[in-house]
Amino acid sequence: MRVRKRYIALFFYFLVLVVPIYWMLNMSLRSNADILGTFSLYPSHLTFKNYIKVFTDPTWYSGYINAIIYVTLNTLMSLAFALPAAYAFSRYKFLGDGQMFFWLLTNRMAPPAVFLLPYFQLYSTVNLIDTHIAVALAHCLFNVPLAVWILEGFMSGIPKEIDETAFIDGYSFPRFFFTLFIPLIRAGVGVTAFFCFMFSWVELLFARTLTVTEAKPIVATMTRTISATGLDWGLLAANGILTIVPGALVIWFVRNHLAKGFALGRV
């Protein structure tokens, strides 16, 4: 009896979560007139018109390409900065290490809007506005600290004696780091990459402000669908579905390590 009750609650919870996504899928497979005209729980006049438009119209599909470019750039940059930083925090003691480690996290506490104006002004001055690298760099603001925290947790789980043994065996530092150490924390690297990807992918504020047309990501494009004829509901829903897909795929790959990542590697 008890088990049953729990399942009912879980089922209800699941329903609440899934209904909006289902509704979006439902809308994406209907035409605008159909969406506004009749209430229907399933697409009675099935159409792929919306998806076809997304994949053929460059103003739409370039949004995905732009987003993928800067998200990938950002993930690579975050890892490249965070790996050595996390190693230093996990292995060495230096003046103000604790404070600095905490300061990194405070970067995540500040609302991004605070940094918006300085970024815009700075990037305008150095002609970085509307480039992929601009968004990737701006996203490092919150992704690098997160990456450092997650990786530090994973690295501290590896005994320091392994490093020392490698040095005794005659490994140089870079060789040890890339051939022995990174394989040991590869789950951590994967989880970190996932978090960087996720946060960069869903971020809207920086992405919209720092791009105009050349590097405009899909999330920014989607907020500009209001035209003289009103909202294009079906198209918007199709884009919503397509935006979920990459995230869902990545979550599938790192599902076994996610909990450890949320605990910043400290399990």
Binding site: P159, E161, E164, L180
Partner: protein
Amino acid sequence: MGLVLRNVDKVVDGETHLKGINLAFETGSRNVFLGRTLAGKTSLLRILAGLDRPTRGQILVDDVDVTGVSVRKRGVAMVYQQFINYPSLTVYKNIASPLLRSGMKKADIDRRVRETAEILHLEDLLERLPAELSGGQQQRTAIARALVKDAKLLLLDEPLVNLDYKLREELREELQDIFRQREAIVVYTTTEPAEALMLGGDIVVLDEGCVLQAGPTPEVYRHPATLRVAEVFSDPPINYLSGRIHDNAVYLGSGSDEPVQGITRSLPDGPYRFGVRSHHLFLRPTGERDIEIQAKVTLSEINGSETFLHVTYDDAPLVVQENGVHKFKIGSAIKIYVNPDRFFVYDEAGMLVDSPDR
């Protein structure tokens, strides 16, 4: 020539870990560092390896100062207390890793790895990952990695401490054979007097970051220079009885006016402390020279096939080591027998003034 430590100090965050260490190790010597936990054994070992820099002092190898030289260029090998292997490499690659970096030919590496694996009985496990091995096999792998290259300095930091009893005995015997064949300075740390005696060679007794006594192991065991050395180098720690010597007669305890019959020590008059190891205290007389001590039982513990009997005599705690499993009532009065020839005599400051002949 060998390795020399000159006035080595190590201070970490204002805490002195090592103080004024002066030691010399000959090539081909077996050295044991004996000390309780936190005595500074591992700190000293890390300085020998070059993993840590001494705060003050010098390390000389063959008369060349190597104090600041990186651990990569020292030619050392080290085995840790924990089982440290590269988890992502197979046993074979783990053992081969020190050689790979030295630029040796592939065929030579292969031969060396297989030879070393054979010594440590790992030949059937070479393709496994360390996580798939038992604790003993993991530590064997770590030892094999330390042995595979001809390091001038072989350091072992309590390598057997995390192994179960049977494996320890086995590996300890094998290690002795392995050490005997090597042309290196071997340094082995342990907390156990029995292990130190088994390994032989030279011993350095450490306590609270200082060297208490150094010398050939049996020599130090027979003549522990201070009461503290005797405590560290006996298991259970050495017992001592307060007493005094007057006109060459020995008086035990604080209030007794009767001299202990049958013993004389030609020493100056004054208060002394008499140390005696637990296995020299008996519950039955063993010879005519034995003296009798009236004591009270405070605790009886059974350790394997031995019984450690904790008693008090004249407010001094004593431990009697008796073969066999015995039962004693706590609080009961018993008689303990000891041959006074077994007494180590220490003065008030705890310095050895007389020790048993054998």
